[in-house]
Amino acid sequence: MRNVAVVGVGVFPFGRHSDLLYQEIGVPAVNDAIEDAGIDRKQIQSCYAGTVSGMGVAHDIINECGMIGIPIVRVENACVSGTNAFRQAWMEIASGLSDISLAIGIEKMKDSSMAAQGGGRIQLEMKAMMKLPIVSTFSIMGLPGYFALAAHRHMNDYNTTKEDLANVTVKSRRNASRNPKAEFQNPMTVDEVLNDKMINPPLTRSQCCPKTDGAAAAILMSEDLAKKYTDTPVWIKASSMTSSYVEEQFKNLISLPNIENAKKAFSMAKLEPKDFFKNGFAEVHDCFSISELLHYEDFGWCKKGEGPKMLNDGIPEIDGDLPINPSGGLLSCGHPLGATGIRQVAEVVYQMRKDKEVAKRQIPDKNLDLALAHTMGSPIMGFTSGIHIFSRDL
């Protein structure tokens, strides 16, 4: 396989964009990425767009951007859609099919129902679903529910407290207060998080990522071209995915199936979890407060049960030994399903390059050699996990 680098990225601010069309939030992100990469748009040879709800949106964006005739593919894999679009673009170049590929992530969620976000499948199958025992049983549970179940067991087994969980949101908001493209930029205290509206005990509203509108884009290139277009390419060292079946998720709620994927990704990059300390940073899928703590543990960055301690010790802070979610993550940036995976890549690129975009939340140079970006999806319908590992040097 060929070496692949990310050379350009763009992010349209996450938030509420009810008056804008998909292409009106997608085109600026794509144009920013093209300008950032310093290429002519005619050089792009393929496009993958991660979106759950946006049927045909990739074609609309590409048409608006003045690129005709290239393969355009919509990629849907729930919350991992953006990560998967990025992976497809990586595969295009690694395999030699394309030299320059565009990955887009885009979603509008503020004004839609869950059914619409699921591409209408839930509505289409409603009649059949209501008669199916196991599916109707899963339907009792919203998305926060799965993570609330994990949180309660974690609290029971490791004496994790409500405050430990709230601290994740406090860190997230603190970082996002330095990110003008995040949906929630207001700092919050532990008390404010705990006194917020209850969704699924122990998770209050601000411990759940919001439904958001947003878009992001990335330009990927082969090694030869990347070296020609930039002095600061961000290399993709690993692209890894796993899936599991529905029942498996309940087997060990506090050890999400990300464990297997992390092992796979670290092995592909010829790295170990400890290599990230004082050397790297990460953007992980903090869909709920408990999720981020579980990821610390499941990626091997601390022992099982010690996620809260790692946070309380300041390790995942921007100036800590292993900064995690410097952008504010899903909890504060918001989580437009397809856009999240590409927004994470943009954060990685901006940070590694010390771009003015992240001037107010810049991670110190010593921690910029390695980065990991991770999303996970559909925990109530079968599970999928996507990880990419990046490096500053090839």
């Binding site: 209501m130 196991i134 049983t137 339907s139 309660h152 087997k251």
Partner: protein, 121 residues
């Protein structure tokens, strides 16, 4: 793919692989571990323990549950000690004080829903 009833004789209708011995719930045509199609019905429960729980303060995506309602994951043991995790509603009234982690429970038979009844303290 054949639709299976949820309960058989008051127990959950799980499947046991006759080749590798793995029990899965719900019952499916293939074993996920050895890909065998030699699967027999295996009754799970009716007694189990509550692994974890939460209470929903939101309406479900589909279904007619009215919040707040508790639900949880229960563990049912097979004869040979396999732990099978099953999610279900918990039959309890506010403030749900009887719902506690690691407490014993039993299944309530139903055509569509899995429901747990907490055992008395």
């Amino acid at each position: 793919m054949k639709r299976q009833p949820l309960f058989i004789d008051g127990k959950l209708n799980a499947g046991k692989c006759n080749d590798c011995g793995i029990v899965r719930f719900p019952r499916r045509d293939y074993c996920n571990y050895c890909q065998s199609t030699n699967i027999s019905a295996y009754g799970l429960g009716p007694k189990g323990t509550l692994e974890t729980f939460t209470i929903s303060y939101m309406k479900p995506m589909i279904g007619r549950m009215k919040p707040p309602y508790p639900y949880g994951v229960a563990i049912f043991l097979t004869d040979d000690g396999q732990k099978i995790h099953v999610i279900g509603l918990i039959d309890s009234q506010e403030p749900f004080e009887d719902v506690k982690i690691d407490k014993e429970l039993s299944l309530i038979e139903d055509k569509l829903l899995i429901k747990f009844k907490m055992e008395a303290d």
